[in-house]
């Protein structure tokens, strides 16, 4: 895994944007990397866009703020419109193609279109489009293994919600095995 990687997760409030970022940070942490997670905390969070920045590195992280992400996850059109232009050249964009009809305009980045919201509702897990996208990211980065995913998930899903662990596992597996 080439480090550091800077991931920007973005979408509407309520799509689990912060949670998916937290999962990625925990996964990095249990693999002994330096990690940081920073939410957007502006007034725009109410009913508008939500985003969080995750940095995973093998050295101390300079800043949790990301100006040029390696990975962008866009779960709504305003997020893609806002952040497409700042993705690093050669970086990767993951698009929830159920909610975003347009294509990515840039030709110097890798793009994966995943109908995550539709896959989630088809599989009776309507709130887990975020984790379907996370599954896809890990697969693309060759980091998907049931073992590592479960270890990180156990950390991030609180004991109170332990019953949600398996369905999150399933969501990531759906994302990991999805081919366009």
């Amino acid at each position: 895994m080439k480090l550091p990687i800077q991931c920007l997760f973005s979408g509407f409030g309520g799509q689990g944007i912060l949670f998916s970022g937290k999962f990625m940070a925990y996964k990095g942490m249990i693999e002994d990397k330096f990690v940081s997670w920073l939410p957007s905390y502006g007034p725009e969070m109410r009913g508008g866009t939500a985003s969080c920045s995750v940095v995973i590195s093998d050295r101390e992280i300079a800043s949790p703020i990301i100006s040029t992400p390696d990975i962008l996850v866009a779960m709504n059109l305003p997020s893609l419109d806002k952040y497409e232009k700042i993705v690093k050249k050669g970086g990767t964009i993951f698009v929830d193609s159920t909610l975003i009809e347009r294509k990515v305009e840039r030709d110097d980045v890798n793009v994966y279109y995943v109908p995550a919201t539709k896959l989630a509702s088809d599989n009776n897990m309507p709130t887990l489009a975020n984790m379907i996208l996370v599954g896809k990211i890990l697969k693309v980065r060759n980091e998907y293994s049931e073992e590592s995913v479960r270890a990180a998930l156990t950390k991030v899903v609180s004991a109170k919600h332990a019953d949600l662990l398996e369905v999150n596992m399933k969501a990531m597996q759906i994302g990991a095995s999805y081919e366009e």
Partner: protein, 353 residues
Amino acid sequence: MADKVLMKGNEALAEAAILAGCRHYFGYPITPQTEVAAYMAKKMPKIGGTFLQAESEIAAINMVYGVSSAGHRVMTSSSSPGISLKGEGISYLAGADLPALVVNVQRGGPGLGGIQPSQSDYFQATKGAAHGDFHMIVLAPASVQEMAELTIKGFELADKYRMTSMILADGTMGQMMEPVDLDFKITPEPEKPWATTGTKLKRNHNIVNSLSLVPEELEQLNIARYERYKTVEENECMYEEYLVDDADIVLVAFGITSRVSKHAIDNAREQGVKVGLIRPITLWPFPKAPFQKAVGHAKAFITVELNMGQMIEDVKLATNCKVPVHLCNRVGGMIPDHTQVYDKIMEINEEVK
């Protein structure tokens, strides 16, 4: 070692305060520190502590005064505009020689300003929190781990010197999550024989007060307090040095900008530029020793700050203005990218070559 957990800086700070024995928290919500209050609201009732959302910041700081007078560890937290409101109470704490912990998770100003990270309350924290001659011990964390560690340190120093300790953080420190290890060794709270806990008819009254109407006596109180400050300056300075020993250019930064600076330093070192960093951890007392050493070989200093140039004055004092001190900054909630700091290093390197 216990397992590391991923926590927001604000939450790690709150948990560390509880570990340090603080059972009384008074606050009022303001972004970006609200998670401190939220965490206390959740935890304090479960451990027999007090969480109270006061009617204002002014009320909160005066409740701190009350609990401290009774000899217990106590804290309040806020962000920049709220700290200004607390100013009067902070001065009263100083006048009554009461220990307390005050947390400022800074946001951009002046006025209501914005809600994004800033370091623009450096002057306020280190020089002029309110009226009267007094200081606070000011601690500047640069990671979530330090948000926790320095909170515990802050309580210890406050008790030791009967002063207010301030954690001077910023929005990134409060909001970001990083792995943190909360397995701390806590030194027991010292006895507080001066506290107003009731005489039980066995001793004279203890009096906690900041009013002193006899000039001769008030003068002596001020002089004695500054003797104590001198001891703090001699014994409690904390700082980190990074690649300073052979440096031609020395960056000076605290909190988040120290981390951005290290990144820029590594990149500049790869280009053969001899550059290092002094990171003050206590902003008051300001650590002069590393500057007196560095000024022997450094050709220039650069402070990296999220304000219009505040710590730069202390750097000029600590170096007796022997070499130029430059400023690399962003304000209003913006944070410099490591490339901006790198460019500044290269620009100054051309000048001093």
